[in-house]
Amino acid sequence: MPEIFIDGHRYEFEGDHKVLQFIQDLGKEVPFFCYHPSMTAPANCRQCMVKAGQYMKDRETGEYEVDENGERVIRWFPKLQTSCNLMAADGMVILTQETDELVQRAQKDNLELILINHPLDCPICDQAGECPLQIQTYKYGPEGSRFEVKKVHKPKRIQLGPRVVLDAERCINCTRCTRFTQEISKTDQLTITSRGDKNYPTTAPGREFDDPYSLNTVDICPVGALTSADFRFKARVWEMNQTPSIDITNGKGTNIDLWTRDNLILRVTPRFNAEVNDHWMPDAGREAYKIFNENRISRPQQKLDGEQILSSWNNAIATLSEEIAATDNSKIVVIASPHASVEENYALSKYTNLLGLNQPVFTPHIEEGTGDDFLLSDDVAPNANGCRLLGFTELDKASIKKEIKKAELVVILHDNLIDREVIAADDLKEKFVVVFATNNSDTSKAADLVIPITTAAEHAASYVNVDGRIQRTYRAKETKYTERRLDLEMSEGRLDRYGTNFDNWVTEDNKIDCLPVWKFINRISEHSGLECNFNDGREIMDEIASTLDSFTGVSYAAMDEQAGIQLSIKKETSTSK
């Protein structure tokens, strides 16, 4: 097998590898800026320099040549090489900054040059704390600058588009952003303008950078040149904690990270998943952080004389139990939800099964025209396939309406059927309506009983995307009933760990009084003397996997290990109305 020697260690490899990527995959590092594994390598930042050479082999014998001391003969490339576009070759010898002074020197020199015209305003720069330039300067850069002449000035605070702001002085001209619009989103909206040290990225004059994927450029910009108009100046990275999650605003199941400070989700960024979204996500999904923070339903609500008022959990449980007991089974319709997780749907269906009710029904949430050829599907719910695999009856709008018409008690799990115009508020008149909901909506307003439930940011649960991949979320945000410090699976940011109540950012205000669906089911079952005892999503998934063939082999551990698991789905059903 071909071999390569990096800093004196021997590694075997197969296939084509760029040396920089190879080194990274080994868990080692070479500093770099312009390289991005999903785009072409222009090798323009010149930061990733290594010393490269080749062990000489005898043409005839194929043996390595040795010198008089028995050392293998190396033919070094005459110049240092940029590792990002250097292909690994058999017998190649690489020295990085770890072992070679010239390489160290070159990397330091390059950083000095990058910084001469850089504003160095880290204290007010959004990128600080997650800035490759800052980090690499700290690790490999010069102690000071010898630049004593005037810096180049360029436009600042340019609103490139509705969501992206440019500070051209911080730009290091890596062209990641322009390459993104050319190679990934294919809108070609950005170009570098001007020449030399006056270069900076821009749109065509009078045009907006309204690329539906524009915010990815903020993520990949290695400096604070591109910032998010929405997130700008909101928080420092080290004040937040980062939790893996799934985009619940679309059926694609884009993998994301939620960034939390004081129990508010402040931003959403894409998380790499080669099978789903690579490094990217649509701008639309980033808005979702608002769902987790704003307009939330906290504490159960009950309608009294046509007015919803705050109720209590005990009241809510008692009321629902009574309503179920008082209604003929055939007059109860339970509507499951493609917007709720597999676990939530399962917990509800298990309860209704125990009650002897019909299988829940559901209707997918399709918005024609939302989809593109990239990371958006017309199916805007995260879990329609989950409902299908659980064996729920899929109905179109008209049939759902019919089912509701026949019923006297309507239980709607986390699906804004009125808001999305499946039914009208009038369709629910004269019925007792129970809605499990996260946020206030026209649907929740129409309910006689509202059960506040956790969002994807507050529970660990799984969703099956349009392509049949099951993936899960983690708890990113505490509810009134959870405690970050007691929950080993919850990430802790610096403030969570060391913050005190005297810190600006630590309050109790942002914890919602809500429960995961299954916890509510536990309590209501107990109330009705039924056996439901779900500890958490993980246990529910184990139960599902052992009882339902379509989920065989699924577990949280397996999903975590494989970044989701592909389930077999019938393709045609995933697009049905």
Partner: protein, 176 residues
């Protein structure tokens, strides 16, 4: 103002496109066609070029801004590009530039108030043996400049005359 190519321009652009296996290579020559037609390639003209070729506007913008000969803003009727680069510097390019600054009452980079002249300082124009020299509006070279010759040129242009093409003789040759 809405800019439009004439039928003739469009025919020329079609001919240009035929020279290449793809459309993008037509960017530079089409910008030239546009600049000859409108006298500049301001953003709206860049947009016209992009639309005509079916190429992204940002691309055309980036290209127009890379090359110095495209006028990204309106210039004077006559643009005097005075070379002050190496050989011209040695032979008095800066004196010619400063002389013209005085005569025209503007600084290099500016346009006279009446819009007749734009004066620029430019890099080597490939006429180093005939220094100092200047180029008039991306066209004729005026070589071996003296202050007098510069003045004559300004007068000539003011009178609506075009500078002549100056053939620079090969010093070894007698006949040509």
């Amino acid at each position: 103002m809405a800019y439009e190519f004439t039928k003739e321009d469009l025919r020329e652009i079609e001919k240009i496109k035929a020279k290449y296996p793809e459309v993008m290579p037509a960017t530079l020559p089409t910008l030239w066609v546009a600049q000859r037609r409108f006298g500049h390639v301001e953003p709206e003209v860049q947009r016209l070029v992009a639309e005509t070729l079916g190429l992204p506007e940002a691309h055309v913008h980036g290209v127009a801004n890379f090359y110095t000969q495209y006028y990204k803003e309106k210039k004077g009727k006559h643009v005097l590009d005075v070379c002050t680069c190496l050989s011209c510097q040695l032979c008095g390019g800066y004196e010619i530039l400063h002389h013209l600054e005085e005569t025209l009452g503007i600084k290099a980079g500016d346009t006279t108030e009446d819009g007749t002249f734009t004066l620029n300082q430019v890099e080597c124009l490939g006429a180093c043996g005939y220094a100092p020299m200047l180029q008039v509006t991306n066209d004729k070279y005026v070589n071996h400049l003296t202050k007098e010759k510069a003045d004559e040129l300004v007068d000539k242009l003011k009178n609506g005359e075009e500078p002549d093409y100056e053939q620079m003789k090969m010093p070894q040759h007698k006949n040509i």
